[in-house]
Amino acid sequence: MTIGEELSKAFHIARKDMRVYYFKAPNFTYGLLMPVALYLAFSVSGTLSPATLISGLVSLVILFGTMSIEAVSVVLEKQTGTFERLLAAPVSLLGLILGKALAGFAIGPLTAIAVLIPVSIFSGTSVQSPLTVFIAICISSFTFASMGILVSCFARWTPEAQMYSNFFRFPMAFLSGTFIPVESMPQALQLFSKLLPLTYSIDAIREGLNNPFVTGSYIIDLGVLILFSAAFMLASARVLERQLS
């Protein structure tokens, strides 16, 4: 099958997922309200710079929004039997996972921009490079969507998927510089934060907020996020492959 055919089927799967999963109530509570409430609760100290505050909040919204959808998208299909239809169709496992991730990828920028614009206006922060911020938001969305798929592949039912995703989301939220700048954390935690994709998402968005041009750090951040995405997708395909065996 050609790459074009694979991409076309991935697109159809993504569009179907958007129809089926976008408007479920938990996506709004877990994906938007929860990170905003969480962030407001921790940022009242006023020690964070506006750029750190906005990049942290936007990244958190992307993380929670995309993972809330993706962490249950495979497991819900397994529960209802519809996943078998996808597996029986002439599409590779990677194509199927790509389609699933694309659905989460599409919602990330919507929620991120919905938060970014009012917060920027409210805090009087000007976005130095809207395009680089947008690209960072898009790539972060894809990374966290892929991460959600991996979680969903392991889970057997929805509460299990939500438990697994919280197991990753909350420690990441605290250790990636969202509430506390990474530089002010102990050395060991600073090293650990380098292993977390949220750290690179926050950094990339902050670079775009602060700099009118593309920086080396920004390029590295995006490169690492893309590597994380590839690793999550390949791992998801491997997990599904093993389940088929």
Binding site: K9, H12, I13, V20, G81, E84, R85, L87, P90, L244
Partner: protein
């Protein structure tokens, strides 16, 4: 029309789940244009076979070739040519019937122009056109099942796999589905179906494989399988008063006796004049024979005889299947 070329060729297929062997080296060929039935009790290995043939699980050993493509090694090419209707309905309740069909067509690369046309054609065929734009969540079980089958054939597959297609359906929906299977087969689709319902297999299938405990125990046409149990006769009889079954067995030289409601099903050797024996038995005890029917062996009788199962194990309690009446 059954062709000579193989649509599906299964060789020494095994499937193990840990130490449990779900399939123990089954082999069969399914000729193009035929309807092949896989019969067996729950847990016999029917669904595992279908899952392997449709790429939903991988065999532990052996091979399955679908229209020249090995389903384990060349899965995408094989999957392009097949349609799958699983045992449970697998449609998206948050989407309309039309959207489900169009999505199924998209997965198989049906062109944009064709998707809508085929979707509405199938909605008409399956009596769902009036509800085509409604969310599936509000559909009855029978409607969902019909839509599931429509989704399985929207890309016009060469080989169609149906896992228990009529289980749980009302009589009318089951009749519609069986007629659809016949129509698809007349149009050239090769069909492999699993079923608990032996009468369904008898009506639809050219070839039947009886599977039990992961092994194929018989593989032949329904008529040949039925002929294999000739040598005995089956008689349904009811008396005006309850009778002692052991005494009846001994008096009339019966091979088997089963109670079916208010009547008894008797199996006797073909050399026994059972009508005369029963008349003598009734007269001697002052009983009246209320009804008596001699029956031809059914596929069910063949199944029970070949697998050695009793009716309960074979799932007869799910839906009784009656042998056809020969005379009254």
């Amino acid at each position: 029309m059954v062709g000579l070329e193989s649509a599906v060729s299964v060789v020494e297929l095994t499937k193990r789940y840990g130490s449990f062997a779900a399939l123990k080296g089954i082999s069969f060929d399914l000729h193009q244009g035929s309807v092949f039935g896989l019969l067996g009790p729950n847990g016999a290995g029917k669904t595992t076979t279908i899952k392997i043939l449709t790429g939903l699980t991988k065999p532990s050993s052996g091979s399955a070739i679908i229209l020249g493509h090995d389903i384990a090694r060349d899965a995408i090419q094989a999957k392009k040519r097949i349609g799958v209707v699983p045992e449970s309905s697998n449609i998206y309740e948050e989407m309309t019937a039309e959207q489900n069909l169009v999505f199924a067509a998209e997965l198989y690369g049906v062109s944009r122009q064709e998707r809508g046309r085929r979707a509405w054609e199938l909605l008409e065929t399956f009596g769902l056109a009036e509800r085509g734009r409604d969310l599936v969540a509000g559909f009855s079980r029978g409607m969902k099942r019909r839509l599931t089958i429509a989704c399985g054939i929207v890309h016009e597959p060469d080989v169609l796999f149906l896992d228990e297609p009529t289980t749980g359906l009302d009589v009318q929906s089951a009749l519609v589905l069986r007629e659809q299977v016949r129509k698809l087969n007349r149009e050239g689709t090769t069909v492999l179906l699993t079923t608990h319902y032996l009468e369904e297999a008898d009506q639809l299938c050219d070839i039947v494989a009886m599977i039990n405990k992961g092994k194929i125990v018989a593989l032949d046409s329904p008529e040949q399988l039925k002929a294999s149990v000739i040598g005995s006769n089956i008689v349904d009889v009811s008396f005006s008063e309850p009778v002692d079954e052991d005494e009846l067995r001994k008096s009339c030289g019966l091979i088997e006796i089963h109670r079916l409601g208010d009547k008894l099903r008797l199996t006797v050797g073909s050399d026994v004049d059972i009508v005369g024996e029963l008349s003598d038995y009734a007269r001697a005890r002052g009983l009246r024979i209320v009804t008596i029917n001699t029956l031809k062996p059914s596929l069910e009788d063949a199944f029970l005889r070949i697998t050695g199962l009793n009716p309960e194990e074979a799932g007869r309690d799910k839906e009784p299947v009656r042998p056809r009446r020969q005379d009254g």
